[in-house]
């Protein structure tokens, strides 16, 4: 049913349609509306049987999720930012144990300085944790990916993170088609665990493994992610057949066929990029967009196949590896090994900096002319950066960086955006 609905509520309703049996979460912006919505559905009895467990921290949330998943319950949680970092130890345990928990990450920056706005630093910090990481470009996809995620997670017995841009998607009210319960039930069978804590058939989950088998356990996790590379597009195709729309999959291209220049991106900025690309196409530029929807497993072959006929690739990312540059760019570069394509990492939108069509168009025209720097920071305010560098060069006691920069920027209350 088509609804004009907040992204968080669309996700809450779709998660509910996936019939989770245990939900445990700790509130943190911008994820809070999702679990609040689910809490109401559990309390009203609309989602039953389901136990909603209040916990004292994100670390506890993931620990409870591990316990309930090991006991055979379909389990869901959600978090963001510092919350994801706080649960990190348990995040690794969930994947190491092969427990098919589904978690929404409402992507948000990581402090310090404290910042509640969107970028991809949080989920990128966990990219090597062994979870599958799927990225939503819009709210329809965010909702749909949760149904696909439970199916994928339970088939492989691996946890899945569904990443959606905090605020930009979670707090946007737009049109989302929420499926009927019967449709979801037909697509997503009841959870049949591969391993379960059962007093009648006792097993240990999480035994210590020494050097004799640890590498093999790790390799098996990798083998499962390779299987996921096969299953993700199949599940997306099954979903498209049943629900009549294409969401998910490994990568999806837009106007890439004859493109000399292709911009690679994750998440909600893909929409703004499509509009920008349409305008640049009208001006005769042969340019396209490649959205990556599965970041782990990283679809090396699909990315290579989509990009190999282009002349240059721009990777626009909301993540940044301090001391190196792009995070996604590094993986894309690996996919393009030996092709000799011109590659331009562009870091944008950190801590909620708006990514505008005008800035993207300007940057992409420079890319097409091969005038971009080896590493670009979109709309970086060099004025305040240089002032701070000068201060530090001039005085030892130059003071806290964040305070200094805020003073240089002046009041933001009078600005519209």
């Amino acid at each position: 049913m088509l609804k004009q609905i907040e992204g968080s509520q669309a996700v809450a309703q779709t998660v509910a349609l996936s019939r989770p049996e245990v939900i445990c979460a700790y509130p943190i912006s911008p994820q809070t509306h999702i679990v609040e919505g689910l809490g109401e559905l559990v309390k009203s009895g609309a989602l039953a049987p389901c136990e909603f467990i209040n916990v004292e921290s994100e670390f506890a949330a993931m620990s409870v999720a591990i316990g309930s998943s090991a006991a055979g319950a379909r389990t869901y949680t959600a978090t963001a930012s510092q919350g994801l970092l706080f649960m990190a130890e348990a995040v690794y345990n969930a994947s190491g144990l092969g427990l098919p928990i589904v978690m929404t990450v409402a992507n948000r920056a990581i402090g310090a300085p404290i910042n509640i706005w969107n970028d991809h630093s949080d989920s990128m910090s966990q990219r090597d944790c062994g979870w599958i990481q799927l990225f939503a470009a819009h709210n329809q996809e965010a909702a749909d990916l949760h149904i696909q995620a439970f199916k994928l997670a339970e088939e492989l017995s691996m946890p899945v993170m569904v990443c959606m841009d905090g605020f930009i998607l979670t707090h946007a009210v737009e049109r989302v088609d929420i499926p009927a319960q019967t449709e979801v039930d037909a697509f997503l069978p009841p959870y049949e665990p591969r391993q379960v804590l059962d007093v009648n058939e006792p097993v240990s989950i999480g035994a210590m493994v020494g050097p004799e088998a640890f590498m093999e356990v790790r390799y098996l996790a990798h083998a499962k992610q390779l299987m996921a590379l096969e299953r993700i597009p199949q599940i997306a195709a099954e979903f498209a057949e049943r629900f009549g729309r294409t969401t998910g999959g490994l990568v999806r291209g837009y106007r890439c066929q004859d493109a000399d220049t292709i911009v690679v991106a994750l998440g909600s900025v893909i929409g703004t990029l499509k509009d920008t690309v349409d305008e640049l196409r009208d001006d005769g530029l042969r340019i396209g967009v490649l959205g990556i929807h599965s970041f782990r497993p990283f679809p090396l072959a699909a990315v290579r196949a989509a990009l190999e006929h282009a002349k240059r690739v721009v990777v626009l990312e909301k993540s940044f590896s301090v001391g190196l540059g792009g995070v996604v760019s590094t993986d894309v570069r690996l996919a393009l090994s030996g092709l000799g394509l011109q590659g331009y990492p562009v870091v944008a939108g950190l801590g909620g900096r708006a990514i505008t069509k005008a800035s993207l168009a300007r940057m992409l025209r420079e890319a097409v002319a091969d005038q971009l720097q080896p590493l670009t920071f979109l709309d970086l305010d060099w004025r305040i950066v240089n002032r701070q560098l000068e201060r530090e060069a001039a005085t030892r006691r130059s003071g806290p960086i964040a305070e200094n920069l805020l003073r240089d920027v002046g009041t933001v209350a009078s600005k519209v955006s």
């Binding site: 004009q4 946007a172 009210v173 737009e174 893909i270 708006a354 209350a413 009078s414 955006s417």
Partner: protein, 202 residues
């Protein structure tokens, strides 16, 4: 694509107004996207919310920098925030005030835009009368329907009905309807004045 920017203060229902507008547009079969300016919300702090309406899927995710419509829920913002920033030359402006643009000190600004698309409505007073609380958000949407004709009063009322409990919805709909009538009358008077001016010129 129609782009609407709503300015107000934390606690005045700025975000709700953008959502209601998007629901009204959705009810009329259109695509709509509403979203707040994200921040640490505090009562009384300047807040901005946005709404885009189009006949096809809306993919753009940037804040609205060049609005077609400006709704100002709190006139005390006028000298604190540059609310007119980026407004298109043929844009609509609706301000919550009992005073006119000239009385608000906006005469100079107003002359840069089409005067039949600029108006004020005492939304807080109307809200107090019908709701007993100074909540101008839904009221202004009624005024906006009359000013622009871009959404219908029925669609606004329907969106209000879907959002609030029945008593609160009744009050808001009555208030939105009064604002609609108020602005419609203003528009008619303006049109008559224009006609009279033409007649005199003839």
């Amino acid at each position: 694509m129609l782009q609407i920017r709503i300015h107000g203060r934390g606690g005045q229902g700025v975000v709700t107004a953008a959502e209601l507008l998007s629901v009204a547009a959705f009810e009329q079969g259109r695509h709509a996207q509403a979203f707040p300016s994200f921040g640490s919300e505090r009562t009384g702090a300047p807040v901005v919310a946005f709404c885009r309406i189009d006949d096809r899927e809306i993919r753009l995710r940037e804040p609205i920098l060049a609005p077609d419509v400006l709704i100002v829920q709190d006139p005390t913002l006028l000298h604190q925030v540059d609310v007119f920033q980026g407004l298109k030359p043929d844009g609509y402006v609706l301000i919550n005030s009992r005073r006119s643009f000239d009385q608000l000190g906006l005469g100079e600004v107003a002359r840069q835009f089409r005067h039949e698309r600029l108006t004020t409505v005492p939304a807080t007073e109307i809200a107090l009368k019908h709701l007993g609380r100074p909540l101008p958000n839904a009221v202004l949407l009624g005024g906006f329907a009359a000013l622009s004709g871009l959404v219908s009063l029925d669609a606004v009322a329907h969106a209000i009905r879907g959002r609030f409990s029945s008593k609160l919805a009744d009050g808001n709909i009555a208030a939105a309807t009064e604002a609609f009538e108020f602005v419609r009358q203003e528009m008619e008077e303006l049109a008559e004045m224009k006609e009279a001016a033409h007649a005199q010129a003839d």
